[in-house]
Every structure is written in C-alpha cells, then in structure tokens.
Subunit: 117 residues, 2 copies
C-alpha cells in the first residue's frame, strides 16, 4: 500500500482508556503548541498521527489513535522510540492517565477492516 | 491544516457498534476487492478512509473510522453522498449490521485531541 507520494505506508489504528480526571491534563499535553515528542514520532517514521476521544456506552472514556508508519521496520522503530529517554519521560506523564484494555500494557492495536485511498 | 501536498484537509474520527453476528459479512463487504462505494467517497472528497474493529471491555464490538476531507464544504458533500442512490443501497446493507451509540443515527464523530504531521 502506498500513499499519495508513492511511499509505502502501514496504517495503524489503536485504542486505550482514559481516566475521567485526566481529560484536561491530557488535552493540554497534546495541544498543537505543545512540542511533546512530535519530533521523535517523525524521527521513527510515525506520520499523520491523530488521537480522538469519545465516551462509550459503558460510561468510560476511550482514546483512538491513528498513524501511518512509513519506515521498513515497524517493530524496530517502535523499540527505538521506546528507548528514547524523552519518550520515556513523556510516557511517564501519559501512562497514569490511561487505562489499557484488559491484558494490554499500553495501546491495543485494532484489526484493520477497510481502506480506501 | 494541510497535507503533504499542501491541500487543506480535515481529519474525522468516528465510532459505531457492530453486531457480533455481522462480523463476517461486514469484513466481506469491505474487502479490498469489493468496489462498494469507493468511487463515491472519492467523488465527495473523503480520502484515506480506514475502518478498524475492536472488542472493548464491555464485551461489544466497535468500529472506528478515520478519513480526511479534502473539499471545502463537508456538510454539503456528506449530504450529497447521502443522496447518491448507490450509497443509499450500500447503507441499507451496512446499517442493520451496526449499532449506533445511544442518541446517534449513524457513526458518532469523536473529539480530535491530537495531530502530528
């Protein structure tokens, strides 16, 4: 699968819970003017990264993440991103706000069922 | 917000339930070789459209949709898409498989909280 520029791209959709009391902090940390780890996502070929938030019928808040991986070693790049000290510091702030799905340690990668360019 | 080609783009994330008994039919209808309404999405400027599926801790299946709107009248284009006879026929097949969130008639548009190019 390639994007508009002919680059190979792998689309990842993922989900995780978000604690009610963390919503405002989470929004602030992810605001457009907050640098966070934006440069590290770029460095490790995670592009066009969006997060959306929604309360579902079980009464809980969930976040849905989408990104496009443009490198050629997704596992390797994710491991390298995990090892970045600034990314570790970032996750140390975000992790306590989130509630992984049962059995998961972080975001749960979802099954892709459709894509139309 | 613009994409890599400098085109204005609006990113939409949305969610809806999926009935357990409909999973196989839904996957088949959305397979890569199924034309469905792919051309109509293009015609009305809905690009890079992905759907992912996940069972959440409430035991129910959900679908998460993501697309990029590249036109300049989202409401108008969505209304025009809704009015396409082939899209109506398509929805008549998909709608019975799906479970809108309480109070919704179809997909629920989620709050965007983050974007990194």
């Amino acid at each position: 699968m390639t994007n508009a520029e002919g680059t190979k791209v792998q689309r990842i959709g993922m989900v995780i819970g978000l604690r009610d009391e963390a919503v405002e902090d989470y929004r602030r940390l992810h605001a457009d003017d907050e640098p966070g780890v934006r440069d590290l996502l770029q460095k490790h070929h995670l592009r066009n990264f969006s997060i959306f938030m929604q309360r579902l019928p079980d009464g809980r808040l969930y976040e849905f993440g989408y990104y496009e991986y443009t490198g050629d070693d997704l596992e390797g790049d994710l491991a390298a991103l995990d090892a970045e000290p600034r990314n570790r510091a970032w996750l140390a702030r975000c992790d306590p706000m989130q509630v992984p799905l049962p059995g998961a340690a972080g975001w749960t990668v979802m099954e892709p069922v459709y894509h139309n360019p």
